[in-house]
């Protein structure tokens, strides 16, 4: 579907089911509210799946990959060649996300939105390349408007053509792209009205000098382009990334199809934030998988109204935090389905 049609198709999860789901949860044999945020998650999943017996049997995770022109400015602890190398590693099955997806029964695909390399066809690889890397946004806009739209629609295509056929109960997004935490920081600063220093972190491991260089780069990009915080296409084209735009499109398409979306760390949360600029209703379909050590993520999550499910000091990306969180969401569903109610268990309630 074209972008506008996808945006128009995103509905709010069924508000009518909220009360019934809450009621069912409150009559489980446990003190009221004692499962904390799992209860909210279970109620939300009931609404999203339009069922009082939610299930997460079919799970799908897509790693979106793309290169960044800004990587040339020394904003990352790693050289840009690592992006294609890690794509090869995903396809060979040796990366952390491969292991976690296998372990949690999640089907894994890799979508190439704009890696600066060519790949041989592979059953797990989705070719969604718009161009080989973005331009350096310290000099010029990262993408043209047309390229930005293409990347968003490639993300929509990834969901519709490659993921939707598996009838997923939930999807998650991860990413790989050297330099992409600078792009994510710039997007979050622009949307949330924050300074570069407030949103920029150490990425995969910058030292103090590297961090100062990265903060200066983000500040310069914002100053140079002054992206419109209310215009998703403007934001993405000026300081975005191809994989970030792809994730935003993917999230919109999943929400339009009524499928919950688990965000991972800083980058996918920035993509979710831009998707919410394009379509505010989309955030009702999001869960935040994990708390990133990157400071910008918390600012984006606050705007999206989300609290991460886990906090393990992960800073790997790839979707690892989202993959781990799916198991927590699965536990929430099973409470709704498998746990006894006061009536069925013959336990007296609160006296």
């Amino acid at each position: 579907m074209p972008l506008e049609q996808t945006i128009a198709s995103v509905r709010l999860p069924d508000p009518g089911l909220r009360e019934a789901a809450r009621h069912k949860m409150d009559f489980k044999t446990k003190p009221l509210g004692s499962l904390g945020r799992l209860e909210d998650a279970a109620v939300r999943l009931c609404q999203m799946q339009n069922s009082l017996e939610p299930a997460l049997a079919r799970r799908s995770l897509v790693v979106f990959a793309g290169d960044h022109g800004v990587a040339a400015a020394g904003v990352s602890a790693f050289p840009a060649e690592v992006t294609p190398q890690m794509v090869h590693n995903f396809l060979a099955g040796g990366a952390a996300i491969n292991v976690l997806c296998r372990q949690q029964g999640i089907s894994l695909r890799v979508a190439d939105l704009g890696v600066n390399a060519d790949f041989a066809p592979h059953p797990q690889l989705i070719d969604a390349k718009v161009r080989r890397g973005t331009r350096n946004f310290l000099v010029e806009p990262a993408l043209t408007r047309e390229e930005t739209r293409q990347a968003l629609e490639m993300g929509i295509m990834v969901f519709e053509r490659h993921i939707a056929a598996g009838h997923p109960d939930i999807v998650a997004m991860g990413e790989m792209g050297i330099g992409n935490s600078s792009s994510a920081a710039a997007l979050i600063a622009a949307v949330c009205g924050r300074t570069a220093a407030e949103v920029t972190g150490r990425g995969t491991g910058l030292d103090d000098a590297g961090l100062a260089r990265k903060q200066a780069a983000v500040a310069r990009a914002l100053d140079l382009h002054r992206p419109d915080p209310a215009n998703g296409l403007d934001l993405l084209s000026k300081v975005g990334g191809l994989e970030i735009a792809g994730m935003a499109g993917f999230a919109l398409a999943a929400a339009a199809a009524g499928v919950p979306v688990v965000l991972d760390g800083l980058i996918s949360t920035a993509a979710g934030l831009v998707a919410a600029v394009l379509c505010p209703a989309v955030s009702h379909w999001f869960f935040s998988g994990h708390r990133s050590v990157e400071i910008g993520q918390a600012i984006a999550l606050e705007r999206l109204g989300l609290v991460p499910l886990i906090d393990l000091d992960l800073r790997l990306g790839e979707g690892t935090g989202a993959a781990l969180a799916i198991n927590i969401l699965d536990a929430a569903c099973r409470i709704m389905v498998e746990m006894a109610s006061f009536e069925s268990a013959g336990v007296s309630g609160k006296s």
Binding site: P31, L38, F78, P79, M86, N89, G94, V293, R315, S351
Partner: protein, 375 residues
């Protein structure tokens, strides 16, 4: 009534317990706890650093892997077989109106563990964990099969008036926990979780934790299963005056446990000690299990290295107790169910950590020469 079927997840190895007639016997036993194996930990650290990821980027999962190696004494730790021990007991202090539930709920919920209907059953099944439900001091008779009856006494005395139990009863409860760990180890268990059921046990655990942490009662007391403001006030007052009445020496954890604790807490403290003796990793559930862990830590400081904190309970004292334990919880979901539910929910994270450790490619395999920090 037809007896309920025994669930496959229920662990029914025979019970046994060491004889601990006095403090000297306990001290002698605890002297057997050996520290973590530094060579195994160094080897695990070395292997983690070769995997295709930025150094340390799996965060606290990496710390868990290293400690699991140190506990097992091997860079290939095995935690496949897991069991959650649920200590169930009644507390005399409920006479003071400190709980929103009647005491009959203890026996009823203990029975529900054996029917597979509770929160810990649901999460335990998801994690592939066994459960071992122990009646260490329920007041009434839970009729269900599948509960290990190792009752020290039928509920404790009311700690607002007298010592909750005698020292020899506390020692017996510790011995039951220690015996449980060794019997599980023999049955193949490689990771333990802790859970409890006992109406009134947020009061006993808050009292024990307040003394051991040197904190006033009001900083340790929460609403438990759902108290009103007035009831919270009453609960705090009961704990404050009980501490005043017994004045236990904070440096004497056994006395604190006997006067202010509960049999469930004592049994779990024994599990923590036993896990360290058997070199099993043991996962702390919520506030009550954390209070028991603190008793164990004060009895034998070396046992702390064998513990993992699963979740930051919504009970306000939990953070203070975790700080005293020196463990940061893996999950923080505002849960306050108890039962071992948090421990069960955290189990898959350890499996995930070990899966990444064992199955990820190394830089050599992946021919990634450049995934090293640039200078």
């Amino acid at each position: 009534m037809r007896p309920a079927p025994i669930l496959p997840e229920l662990s029914l190895e025979p019970a046994g317990e060491p004889r601990l007639p006095d403090r000297a016997a306990l001290a002698a036993r605890l002297a057997g706890i050996r520290p973590l194996d530094p060579a195994a930990m160094a080897e695990a650290r070395r292997r983690l650093d070769q995997l295709t990821k930025p150094l340390g980027s799996l965060g606290r999962l990496e710390e868990a892997v290293v400690r699991l190696a140190g506990i097992a004494g091997s860079a290939d730790p095995d935690i496949a077989d897991k069991c959650i021990v649920i200590m169930c007991a009644d507390n005399g202090v409920v006479e003071e109106g400190v709980s929103s539930c009647p005491p009959s709920v203890t026996a009823a919920v203990a029975g529900n563990f054996t029917r597979g209907l509770t929160g810990v059953n649901v999460f335990g099944r998801l994690a592939g964990s066994r459960l071992r439900v122990i009646d260490i001091g329920i007041r009434t008779e839970p009729p269900e099969p599948g509960i290990h009856r190792q009752r020290v006494r039928s509920g404790t005395a009311n700690l607002a008036r007298e010592s909750a139990m005698t020292e020899s009863e506390a020692l017996r409860a510790l011995a039951i926990g220690i015996g449980t760990a060794s019997c599980l180890k023999q049955a193949g268990c490689r990771m333990m979780g802790t859970g409890e059921m006992g109406i009134g046990n947020t009061t006993t655990s808050a009292a024990v934790a307040a003394v051991l942490c040197g904190q006033p009662a009001e900083r340790m007391v929460g609403r438990g299963a759902g108290l009103s403001d007035a009831a919270l006030e009453r609960k705090t007052g009961v704990i404050r005056s009980a501490i005043e009445l017994h004045r236990p020496d904070p440096a004497d954890p056994l006395a604190v446990l006997a006067r202010l604790g509960g049999l469930d807490i004592a049994g779990l403290a024994g599990c923590f000690l036993g896990a360290a003796l058997e070199r099993l990793p043991i996962v702390i559930d919520g506030f009550i299990a954390a209070a028991a862990a603190l008793v164990a830590l004060r009895l034998a400081p070396a046992c702390g290295d064998f513990m993992f904190a699963s979740h930051g309970s919504a009970e306000p004292g939990a953070r203070l107790v975790h700080d005293a334990l020196g463990h940061r919880p893996l999950l923080d979901l505002d849960m306050r169910l108890g039962e071992g539910s948090g421990a069960a929910l955290a189990f898959p994270l350890f499996d995930a950590a070990l899966a990444a450790y064992r199955q990820m490619g190394s830089f050599d395999d992946a021919r990634i020469e450049a995934y090293r920090p640039q200078s």
